[in-house]
Symmetry: C2
Subunit: 386 residues, 2 copies
Amino acid sequence: MIRTVGILGAGQLARMLAQAGKPMGLEFIFLDPAVDACAAEYGEHICADWDDEDALRKLGQRADVVTFDFENVPESSARLIESLCPVFPPPRALFKSQDRLREKTMMQELGIPVAPFEAVSSRPELAAAVEKIGLPCVLKTRRFGYDGKGQQVLRFQEDMERAWQVLGGEELICEGFVSFDAECSIIAARGAGGHTVYWPLTRNQHRDGVLAISKAPAFSAELQVHAEALVRRLMDHLDYTGVLTLELFLKDGGLLANEIAPRVHNSGHWTIDGGCTSQFENHLLAICGLPLGDTQNHSPVLMFNLLGQMPACAGEETFEAATNAAIHWHDYHKTPRAGRKIGHVTVTAEGEPGLRARAAQLAAALGVAAELDLQSVLRDDGARTE
Amino acid sequence: MIRTVGILGAGQLARMLAQAGKPMGLEFIFLDPAVDACAAEYGEHICADWDDEDALRKLGQRADVVTFDFENVPESSARLIESLCPVFPPPRALFKSQDRLREKTMMQELGIPVAPFEAVSSRPELAAAVEKIGLPCVLKTRRFGYDGKGQQVLRFQEDMERAWQVLGGEELICEGFVSFDAECSIIAARGAGGHTVYWPLTRNQHRDGVLAISKAPAFSAELQVHAEALVRRLMDHLDYTGVLTLELFLKDGGLLANEIAPRVHNSGHWTIDGGCTSQFENHLLAICGLPLGDTQNHSPVLMFNLLGQMPACAGEETFEAATNAAIHWHDYHKTPRAGRKIGHVTVTAEGEPGLRARAAQLAAALGVAAELDLQSVLRDDGARTE
């Protein structure tokens, strides 16, 4: 029986995993080089680099199972731990998702629709890729990109040189630019026996490359079935255990895969307050070999990411009573810093009209009403809350 | 702004308060004489007696607000802390509920229906009380009784002597025995400004004086209104802040108050998995002066207490998939001991028929189907889930 879960990384995802796991009776041990890692207070913190063999060995020996809140762990580190205890998701899934080229190639091979892409390692290869894919397109680093970092959009021929100046020298990928109708993500949990459950397809909106809002449910049953089939193909192929997130674009009624996160995901934080079982609970249940929980919404819900610092309106009597009563603030207990993800807030309602009104009020109080397009996120594309 | 919550007592109620409060950004500090108190891992643990003045002073100085998971703290201790920082619920409420005679007298004065009662401090007073109240009746210690401890039921004249042998020498109360149609409890949270919210009236079943199961929602809107009025009268009278529980008997369609718990309560543990906001969240919001959250069920739910040790079926593939998916196990991480409350488990469903089927399956797996009367707890007395 699994009692102690080891996590590589002790950021807010690890923190929320621990918050979900402690009531279930689990204990936690973390490896993270950051002295002030925000999950560390939930268990033992091995403060060491990702490739510190003694530290990795210690984690593998103390934990009954090891998982990740950070996917850019060196392959050799994951393999070392795997020699000592089970590691979920399987390191193979991690390595695929660490490299955009490998990831996109895998998806293409599995028949999962993606935008056209080309590997780029030189200036002439960039020119050839732009020629082949056409403009606009996006030049991205193959590794270590997140929250829009390591990306350059090319709209005109003359953007090529500028993009090359910024990113040239690294291994790159050039992808067709998708002028999407909506951004969304499907989060799924696959248990040890292959049983897979799916949360409702979530509608997302990014600002400056960083997730700003997520809303669920948001799409039709038809699109849900389509998205589930795509993510299932990936998970079965990888013989996956745990939670996996597939970010998608909705374009002309169809879905195009954008990227994979082999872990719990920011766009699934709403599952804590709006779902019968959270992504964190199900990830732990999956890696512990236990039966998975219900993934439907119990209430329609919208999440706002909180960047920089907790807003002044958090916990104040700022809203109408009905809105106040339906708000859940989450503080990751991280040191405030411009642009840093330091918390999130969710708002729920019994139905969509109530959610629309409350979300608008919350957006106004957060001061993000002008910069976000709440209207489009709250558009009803056939969503049904069971 | 409140950052650190002090708690007198560090048992499972404090543990679940901390589990609810940490995501909200709160920190915790506990005072509890038990070395292995199960909440202690969620913050600093001052391991000292309830009347250790240095320890109490330390708690009052470090915390921004102090609350209780244990109501039998000496009055002088609560007063000492109150001289250093706010204490909620108000110590006055604590003292009333520490003594069954004071509690019953207060309720009687407030016009809250209670069974007839008489103070008993001598053998002749016992005889006089039994004469006045009639048989059957219950002889109870005025203080420190819980989970049926310190109680003797008198059915025949000859029981008097036996009961006196067991309890005589302490301050006692003799109460009329209520042959109730149902046991229930109303849990309410009152905010700093007097705003009060109520969870649905919960149906309870005890075994050997210990709560065995709770189910919500369970009663008609009419009974809900009635119960809310009773608990509101108490909270307003006490100028209460925080969560208060009123245990009631349903008898011939009316409600009789049994006892008050000036805190979160075992019969409200279902609010974690079945309520839009848990009793633990709202208690913290109330004592921090923040707006209270929605108290309705998002799903009908039933809770089983787990005594002694976590059952073998916890987390196993023991149930039909639909039941498994709707179960949440809670492990208080306490050392197993016969009869000890070491955890609880909840089961939810979209509707009542689903809940009935799943609860029966869970009861069978827990091995409690024979000793509990699940049928009567699941009886529909006009409950509606919104």
